[in-house]
Symmetry: C2
Subunit: 202 residues, 2 copies
DNA sequence: CGGCGTTTTGAGAGAGCTCAACATCGGTGG
DNA sequence: CCACCGATGTTGAGCTCTCTCAAAACGCCG
């Protein structure tokens, strides 16, 4: 079940921004949380010296400013990096829905908890130095129900960004793994060959 | 306000584990979420081939298995990496408290949302290749109210792990930044010199 | 005092980054 | 239909930066 119920969906307000346009600023009144429909939104904090530190780049499908539900003001600046469309879910509408139906509040919490775990996993992956082991970690945690096949929803370039590798490094690593027989590639899928199976019966 | 109210605190059940001991397994009935009191707990998923992929290593102060509140079973294995003490907050007690007081549920959601943002920021930081820029990012986002001073709560070794650098690399980077006059170190604090101020009046 | 963990500096090697060239594919328009 | 374009995918070669291994100073605590 999604936390975006028909009622919340209906309360959503779309807005389009040009590249470089500001969506909200640190300290401005928190109106609600956002979902990116298209384009990229950059969340940044600007130092007193004027340099900006990027906190997160949200792209299509991402939500951001979830914490605004429980805060009077936004905690950073949000600026469109490209021409972008966002959907605002007003605080009041969301909180009212949470109050009306505990199920919805639960779905929202579950989504957040799920996201926390997924982000922790991504961070853990970055602690792996070797490109090959990083790819192994990614594959192992993205196998389908059969336990051997990984479907690549996105392009390999996107996967590379996820992994914190250049796309060149990823391509190379994958072709090495393929020629070592550790994986098999076909179309949009990668199949893991049981390389490190513990000694089968003789 | 913390989501761990006196009532929830009182419902907590402490348990001590030896290194290597299992706390719960994938598929076992979810009893609640945990907080690490001391030691380290490793969350892993084991592939059919028997190799394990680490999802997260929780240490003192961390909570984990938050998603278990809304799931019937655990989604991974939890194994003590060292001798460890954990506190279990039983699902029923937590959910009852959430129902009794919406404020508590809100505090929990706010904590999750805050954590999501913090993890996203950590991940964003790892996308920065250069050690120096990564340190700059860390410092910029951890300055105190004065906007110039960063208090180091933990040891530099711990900070290095946070940044995804070896401690040697961090020490070197810091001393280079210090000798370049970009920062000043004293005791447990780092002060940022307004290095990249835009051209002051002549 | 002696042991342990943190902090610091040195030297060398290697893994991944960078730059570059080219193939491939899908869409677009003459 | 074909030429062109942009984005993804692929491979090559060199270089830089960080990791690794090593050693030593320092501070803290029993």
């Amino acid at each position: 079940m999604s936390w975006i119920t028909p009622a919340i969906q209906a309360a959503g307000i779309e807005r389009t921004l040009d590249a470089g346009q500001t969506l909200f600023r640190l300290g401005s009144r928190a109106t609600g949380l956002y979902e990116v429909v298209s384009g990229k939104i950059r969340l940044v904090r600007v130092s007193s010296a004027g340099s900006e530190a990027v906190l997160f780049v949200a792209s299509a499908g991402h939500t951001f400013a979830e914490a605004s539900l429980y805060s009077a003001t936004y905690q950073c600046d949000a600026i469109a990096s490209t021409k972008a469309t966002v959907r605002l879910y007003p605080k009041a509408a969301v909180l009212a829905e949470f109050q009306r139906s505990p199920k919805v509040a639960q779905a929202f919490m579950a989504m957040l908890a799920q996201q926390v775990m997924s982000l922790r996993t991504g961070l853990q992956r970055r602690n792996i130095r070797s490109a090959r082991d990083r790819v192994r970690h990614y594959l192992a945690l993205n196998v389908g129900p059969d336990g051997r096949t990984v479907a690549l929803a996105t392009t390999l370039k996107d996967v590379a960004r996820d992994l914190g590798l250049t796309h060149e490094a990823l391509y190379r690593t994958l072709s090495e793994m393929a020629s070592d027989g550790e994986i098999k590639r076909s179309d949009g899928k990668i199949t893991i060959r049981a390389a490190n199976r513990l000694s089968p019966l003789p």
